[in-house]
């Protein structure tokens, strides 16, 4: 092995000699974990020579280099030929971080190539090292405590409870876990995969469509295919499905909104029926798809992850109003029946309910807002501002908006950004609820006051302290209580209040103040600058006069509120 001895600086001369002796250069790719290089070398070079080249190219020390080819470690004493390294082949290189680590392999090198006085001072230098370290044979056995102590921890295996070997079993386990832990579903939904899938309407549609049960369903109910073909709807639903919390809220809202909409004569009964026809089969289809693991066992939290559309798991929705005289209505699903039935009585109950606003809702459509369902909806909204936006953007709400469009006042008020901000302000919503309750109480207790609860007087009610109409503090002092203290907040609240009330009233009252307070902000400021410090009175006056400052001043001076 002549060439094996030429690893000192004489390598180059050797190479030259070899080249002269009609040997061929081959190009070998040397691949490290990080990159690769092509190195030209004589085909019968030794590994050591090869390493020299490599160390130059990679800027690494010789003893750091470990060459691997075909699973074999190339020892310095070997030749490339020996290992079958030919032109165009790839040799793997590992650049060790610590020369000490070469103990395991280079010890063999030193043992085998000890006979060769190479400039592998590295190997000779490292030869004492392997003696100190573990003998190569037991290397891996002893090394593990060091290297693998951080790895291969078995404990996590059973931690998941998924120690099953069978993936099918695994899936069932997952489902079981899913059932018992609704959180998991939300986690799944948070999984970017699922979310990404959900965000592609075509994908979801295709998935749904190709489900055989869905196909059956679609044959039975052409509305389903229509729904599925509506990209807007799909996107909507998918956004819902993506966000489990939103989904949950949305479902509740839908239930309530739909139940309210029942009260609108005619139309939404049909809608409801339709959805009943659709929802139930879809639900059962979803159930079947998931191996008859009914999501009803989910504890009412979330719906199926993969079937985003109409599968709803309903639990009884609380109805805070518990209205009397419930007209039996079709159940739209499992749990919503209570709400449905309770709200089915909206029609008769509107009249029987003391109209909390003192204003006769001219139409049932307008009375929607005063229905118990709506109020419970409002209550929920107050707890979750997001809800309102979701609600407003929901497809079902579109239909509702259409009904609103019939009443332009209402619609405009609904769309009023002020009003929206009210709705999204939980405290405001709560306050409104309280006001409503208070007014209702008021109505029962002092029916004589009702006539006086004219539109103009309504704003006066919340602003109690001004004492215009001041019944016994119907609104717990959320807003009206400190009008003088914080002028602007109460001002805003009043504005919002009024708008809300007007909306509640079904907009029958007037178009008095689409944005009374906002509109009158300037006037109010002027009035206060003039010395009319009673903001509520100012506001009332302004509203009554439609923003005319002078007239308002006259009113104020004339009425002399305290």
């Amino acid at each position: 092995m002549a060439e094996s001895s030429g690893t000192d600086p004489t390598v180059d001369s050797n190479v030259v000699e070899n080249a002269a002796k009609d040997r061929t250069m081959i190009v070998v790719t040397v691949k490290t974990p990080k990159d690769k290089e092509e190195i030209a070398i004589l085909e019968d070079s030794s590994v050591a020579q090869f390493k020299e080249e490599i160390s130059k190219r990679f800027n690494a020390k010789l003893d750091q280099l470990v060459l691997i080819f075909a699973g074999k470690i190339l020892k310095d004493g070997d030749t490339l030929n020996q290992h079958g390294i030919k032109d165009g082949l790839t040799v793997h290189l590992v650049i060790k971080t610590a020369p000490k680590a070469t103990s395991g392999s280079t010890s063999q090198n030193s043992a085998s190539s000890s006979g060769t006085p190479q400039a592998n001072s590295s190997s000779s230098a490292s030869s004492p090292v392997p003696n100190a370290s573990t003998p190569p044979g037991t290397g891996p056995a002893i090394q593990p405590p060091n290297l693998l102590s951080g790895f291969g921890d078995l404990s996590s295996l059973s931690g998941m409870g998924m120690g099953s070997a069978n993936f099918m079993e695994l899936q069932q386990q997952m489902q079981r876990q899913l059932m018992s832990n609704p959180e998991m579903l939300s986690q799944i939904m948070d999984n970017p995969l699922v979310q990404n899938m959900m965000s592609n309407p075509d994908l979801m549609r295709q998935m749904i469509v190709t489900n055989p049960q869905m196909q059956q369903l679609m044959e039975r109910n052409p509305e389903i295919s229509h729904m599925l073909n509506n990209p807007e709807l799909m996107r909507q639903t998918m956004e819902l499905a993506r966000n489990p919390a939103m989904m949950q809220e949305m479902m509740r809202n839908q239930d309530r909104a739909l139940s309210n909409l029942e009260s609108i004569p005619g139309g939404y009964n049909a809608l409801r029926r339709m959805y009943t026809d659709i929802q139930e089969p879809m639900f059962s289809a979803a159930r079947e798809q998931f191996g008859n693991n009914p999501f009803s066992a989910l504890g009412g939290n979330l719906d199926s992850g993969v079937q985003p559309s109409r599968t709803e798991n309903r639990e009884p929705l609380p109805n805070p109003w518990g209205p009397p005289g419930t007209a039996p209505s079709e159940s739209r699903g499992t749990g919503s029946s209570t709400t449905t039935s309770s709200n089915g009585g909206t029609a008769p109950s509107v009249s029987s309910l003391p109209n909390p606003l003192g204003i006769n809702a001219s139409g049932l459509g307008n009375g929607v807002f005063s229905s118990p369902g709506m109020q419970s909806l409002m209550q929920q909204i107050s707890e979750n501002p997001q809800l309102m936006q979701n609600m407003l953007s929901a497809p079902y709400m579109r239909s509702m908006m259409q009904s609103l469009a019939q009443n332009p006042d209402l619609a405009s008020q609904m769309q009023n950004p002020e009003a929206l901000s009210v709705m999204t302000n939980p405290r405001a919503m709560q306050a409104l609820m309280q006001i409503q309750q208070g007014l209702q109480t008021l109505q029962t207790e002092a029916p004589g006051l009702m006539p006086s609860l004219a539109p103009g007087g309504i704003p006066g009610i919340p602003s109690t302290t001004g004492g215009s109409v001041a019944p016994e503090g119907p609104p717990p002092p959320t807003q009206g209580s400190n009008p003088s203290a914080d002028v602007s907040p109460s001002q805003q609240q009043q504005q919002l209040m009024q708008q809300m009330l007007q909306m509640f009233a079904g907009g029958v009252t007037t178009t008095q103040a689409v944005t009374p307070e906002v509109r009158f902000q300037q006037q109010l400021d002027q009035l206060s600058a003039m010395g009319f410090l009673n903001r509520e009175a100012n506001l009332q006056a302004l509203i009554a006069t439609g923003g005319d400052i002078n007239a308002a001043i006259e009113r104020l001076l004339g009425s002399q509120p305290s």
């Binding site: 699973g71 074999k72 590992v94």
Partner: protein, 168 residues
């Protein structure tokens, strides 16, 4: 040969066939053809299992991920590469081409890693049907649609420890 003094470690390829789960059910729907082999692979050597996932290169006891025992074990051969060299190698890989964020479901996934490591250790590649899988999926229109979605999937079977940087 120096083989007498060299310790040989056998290298195995663990193949986990995920198709019993979803691929078999979903692939006809989604892809229009049956892709019955959706596999996750790992290399088992030195008594440990190594695989690449969304968190980077991980290791665990063989069969120790939540996938359980492998469906197929392929003997890739033997290697002389010692464990420490291998660990060095893995660390380098884990810092460069096999960082967690480099995971791509189609182009640079667990099978890519396994293939490379197999070549490193034994000079042999893993069975081609595994490495051909992404292109098979991508060749369908649905696969094309799915592609941006799936690109963001990181499959990281729990139950392993991540190899990052230097061992020990």
């Amino acid at each position: 040969m120096e083989k007498n003094e060299t310790t040989i470690y056998s290298v195995q390829l663990y193949i986990y066939d995920l198709s019993r789960g979803m691929a078999r059910n979903l692939s006809p729907i989604m892809l229009g053809k049956s892709v019955s082999k959706a596999v996750h692979t790992a290399i088992v050597v030195y008594g440990d299992e190594f695989f690449f996932g969304g968190v980077g290169i991980s290791s665990c006891s063989p069969g120790g991920t939540m996938l359980g025992s492998p469906d197929t074990v392929v003997e890739l051969g033997n290697t002389e590469v010692t464990e420490e060299i291998f660990m060095d190698y893995l660390s380098s890989l884990g810092e460069s081409t096999y960082r967690g964020d480099k995971y791509r479901l189609f182009e640079h996934n667990c099978n890519t890693f396994t293939n490379e490591v197999a070549q490193f250790l034994t000079g042999r590649k893993i069975p081609s049907y595994i490495t051909d899988l992404p292109s098979e999926v991508l060749s369908t229109p649905f696969g094309q649609i799915l592609r941006p979605i799936l690109d963001s999937i990181h499959i990281a079977p729990p139950g392993g420890n991540v190899i990052n940087g230097r061992p020990s």
